[in-house]
């Protein structure tokens, strides 16, 4: 089929296979290609994977010989990489690609008539957001592929309650027929297998219309608020109660109205705030703190979200105008003090929770402007009493500063990308935190029974999310497991107990073992590394070194490409190494252009050397 061969290269197959067991996704992307030309040709392999995923393996097989990946400490790998670069031999890279993804690219020269197989594996823990787990795949083959296939096998011990798969490029019935999705009991399956003709952008075209997002969403049954699974001495505890009333919120929006917010960003912020005001519940309290060079407040104290007050707030928001410089410290402290005072003076309901939302598009340049000082001031002022969420609007923010600010205060940071949907991004963020069902959540296990527990205390449990705690059993053969989850609800205190006896544990083990035997251990490792890396962001000195050492040890042990490790694929080439490196870009790196793949040269009989790296 000459049309299947583009520039001498035939891509025989591209297969994406996802295995999900208890939210832990293990994805393998395999592409097989043949050089049909009479000369050596370059073959590229591009995969866009979620930023939250860790690459666990990459192999390259050329003419039947496989070159496996090895995880190394980043510094060690970097030296090899630098040496190779200095010799003019370069690398494949992972770079930021859009909002949710990073792009892994590698290219290789393939001799005439030779076959090459690329296989990339990555893993991630799917997080529940607004009542569903989402697995996001980017589909963009460069040419028609003889066998193109996406399959997902999902196994959830709680039972699957809903499953859907959507592709942004499926616009006609023909292509829709290539997609099947089904679920029954604990198992779900999604398959997308377009034929070559279905892939064509038009009946006579030789280019592919497969270009876009492929998203699988699902949720599990929630008959019980919690679920514990134990395999091989490791456990994971999922907790997601529902049917509880929402705890009233006291929210202070600390909004940057400096000059850089002028026009579009301020317009979008105002639109989002107006929509958020519509969604506020009457027993919530709110206020606005606007900061530029000076700090301005809507009201001196928090105001209940009655219809009349909301109407007044709308008028206030509509009239917000941009001013000059950026006094983040002043705005933030004013908002924090207001929340503290409201609590102390009983202006807000006793059973309510306080939240600070900071939105800024720039860097502090008025008042206290040293990031460390602002962080210390906020930390001291809040004193762990309530969470602070940071929204970094656009590219000109110090995202690392905002992230640390939020993490130090039990919140998290989000980027708001400067685009036409910024209003929606802001609303989405608010919706995520708009419905706290529990505050002060503590997950407890019998003392001495559990080791190496992941985070087990949370300021809030939000409706539609899920708390996940994992750990090791002190006694691998223990035959009784008990967990208690305590939290404060809108009207009462709740204490949930989850117990598993030996029989239940064995039954669970038998049904899960054959699918993905060590997934709980890997899930635990993934979660632990993720949390260590977060803690590392806000730590300093010796503590930071310890956290780094722990995260590195686990990354190496479990073969994860994290910001601390690199993966190297080595092939000696005439007694000389060639290297390729791929960086996992952190969220504090901005303006990263779409990936430009750079090569590792493979010129038979030469033998190349590759890196896959994460930062």
């Amino acid at each position: 089929l000459p049309e299947m061969v583009v520039d001498g290269i035939e891509v025989y197959s591209t297969k994406i296979h996802c295995r999900v067991t208890s939210r832990f996704a293990h994805n393998t992307v395999t592409t097989r290609a043949t050089n049909r030309a009479e000369t050596a040709k370059e073959v590229s392999f591009d995969v866009e994977l979620p930023k939250t995923a860790f690459i666990t393996n990459f192999t390259l097989t050329i003419d039947g010989v496989t070159y496996p990946g090895n995880i190394k400490e980043k510094e060690v790998a970097q030296k090899q990489y630098d040496r190779a670069v200095s010799q003019g031999k370069t690398a494949g890279l992972v770079k930021a690609s859009g909002r949710k993804l990073e792009k892994f690219t590698v290219s290789v020269n393939v001799a005439a008539g030779s076959k090459v197989t690329f296989e990339l594996t990555y893993e991630e823990l799917l997080k529940r957001n607004k009542g569903k787990y989402e697995m996001y795949l980017k589909v963009r083959p460069k040419q028609l592929v003889k066998h193109f296939e996406i399959t997902a096998d999902i196994f959830e011990p709680q039972g699957i309650s809903s499953l859907d798969a959507q592709a942004s490029f499926i616009t006609n019935d023909l292509l829709a027929s290539a997609l099947t999705k089904s679920f029954s009991g604990k198992k779900g399956h999604v398959s997308f297998k377009p034929s070559v003709d279905q892939q064509r952008s038009c009946p006579t075209c030789t280019d592919s219309l497969l270009d876009g997002d492929f998203t699988i969403t699902y949720d599990v049954n929630r008959e019980s608020p919690a679920n514990v699974q134990i395999v091989n001495g490791y456990f994971v505890h999922f907790f997601a109660p529902h049917g509880l009333p929402v705890v009233p919120k006291n929210v202070v929006f600390v909004i940057d109205v400096s000059g850089s917010m002028y026009y579009q960003k301020l317009k979008q912020t105002k639109e989002a705030l107006l929509k958020i005001l519509e969604d506020m519940k009457e027993n919530d309290y709110l206020n606005f703190v606007l900061f530029a060079s000076k700090v301005r407040v809507w009201k001196d104290h928090l105001i209940q979200a009655t219809p009349e007050n909301i109407q007044e707030a709308r008028a206030f928001v509509s009239n917000i105008a941009a001013e000059d410089t950026t006094n983040i410290n002043g705005g933030l402290l004013r908002g924090i003090e207001m929340l503290k005072k409201a609590r102390e003076e009983h202006q807000v309901p006793e059973r309510s929770t306080s939240i600070v939302i900071l939105l800024t598009d720039g860097i502090a340049n008025e008042g206290v402007s040293r990031p460390e000082d602002i962080q210390a001031n906020a930390r001291n002022a809040i004193g762990g009493k309530f969470p602070l969420y940071s929204l970094g609007f656009g590219d000109n923010v110090d995202y690392g500063f905002l992230e640390k600010l939020a993490l130090e205060n039990n919140g998290f940071a989000r980027r708001i990308y400067e685009a036409s949907d910024a209003t929606l991004q802001l609303q989405d963020f608010y919706e995520e935190i708009a419905n706290p069902l529990l505050t002060g959540v503590e997950v407890e296990y019998p003392q001495n029974a559990i080791l190496d527990l992941t985070q087990n205390t949370y300021k809030h449990y939000y409706d539609g999310s899920e708390i996940v705690v994992a750990g090791k059993l002190a006694d691998k053969d223990m035959n009784h497991f008990k967990a208690d989850v305590k939290g404060h609800g809108a009207f009462n205190d709740l204490s949930f107990t989850e117990e598993l006896d030996a029989e239940e544990m064995e039954k669970a083990r038998q049904e899960q073992d054959y699918i993905f035997g060590d997934y709980i251990e890997r899930l635990w490792a993934y979660l632990t590394i993720e949390q260590l890396l977060d803690k590392r962001k806000k730590a300093q000195g010796e503590e930071k070194e310890n956290l780094t050492a722990q995260a590195l040890e686990l990354s190496l042990k479990y073969h994860f490409v994290t910001p601390l490790t690199s993966m190297v694929v080595t092939k000696p080439e005439d007694n000389e190494d060639q290297t390729a490196i791929a960086d996992k870009p952190g969220d504090d790196q901005v303006d990263v252009p779409p990936s430009s793949a750079v090569l590792v040269g493979y010129q038979p009989p030469q033998t190349p050397y590759y890196y896959v790296d994460g930062d």
């Binding site: 019980s224 049917g243 009333p245 609800g489 009462n492 949930f496 117990e499």
Partner: protein, 240 residues
Amino acid sequence: PHFIIRVPGKNDALCFNIDEDPGTVLRLIHDPVTGLTVHGEIIGDKVASADSKTRNTYFGKLGIANAYLDVRIEVTPEKISLWNGEAQSTFSWLDTVTVTQNGMTMAINRKKNIVLSFGDGVTFVVVLHQVWKKHPVHRDFLGFYVVDSHRMSAQTHGLLGQFFHPLDFEVSDIRPGLDPSKPVATMVVKNHQLKVTRGSQKDYRRDASVGVKVACWFIHNNGEGLLDGDLKDYIVPALF
């Protein structure tokens, strides 16, 4: 549903059945002093029997309200709903959860029972009776028990509530009945002379599947003569 009334002063128990149509809601307890009210809705078997003498009826829904705390709890064999004012919390019988708030504690014990305590006063226990899901006739139902009933006020009334006050009865002329294992007797209670039958009912508080036998004097005809007034006096329009 059948009722068992322990009479501590006599070290004995009385029992009776209430046979009403499914959907009927009965006032079990009403205490104007503590603000507590308990209503129960009757359900029947999956396949309704035309003969009222052979049909089985149970409590399929219980409504427990505390007017002073502005709390309502609705229990069915499927779920447990708690209202604080208008705000609703929903729990499943698969939960093991303790809910505490000012003046009340509710402990749901997975697939077994709910223990509901109001301050230092009365405790209610709701027992879940589960039958085989595909049973052609029977369905899941609820049992309701009152612990420390003496802590309720003297003004408490209702099908159960009227027995929270001291009760006296005399049994005489015990003689063999049609069933030799169930002697009959004459009982004088609340100034009525009744023909009663010795029998037994089960207390399922400890184990919903086995139960503990409680010997009792059975009062016929929907507890007529034992109950204050007429059965219709205890029928209410809704669970709350």
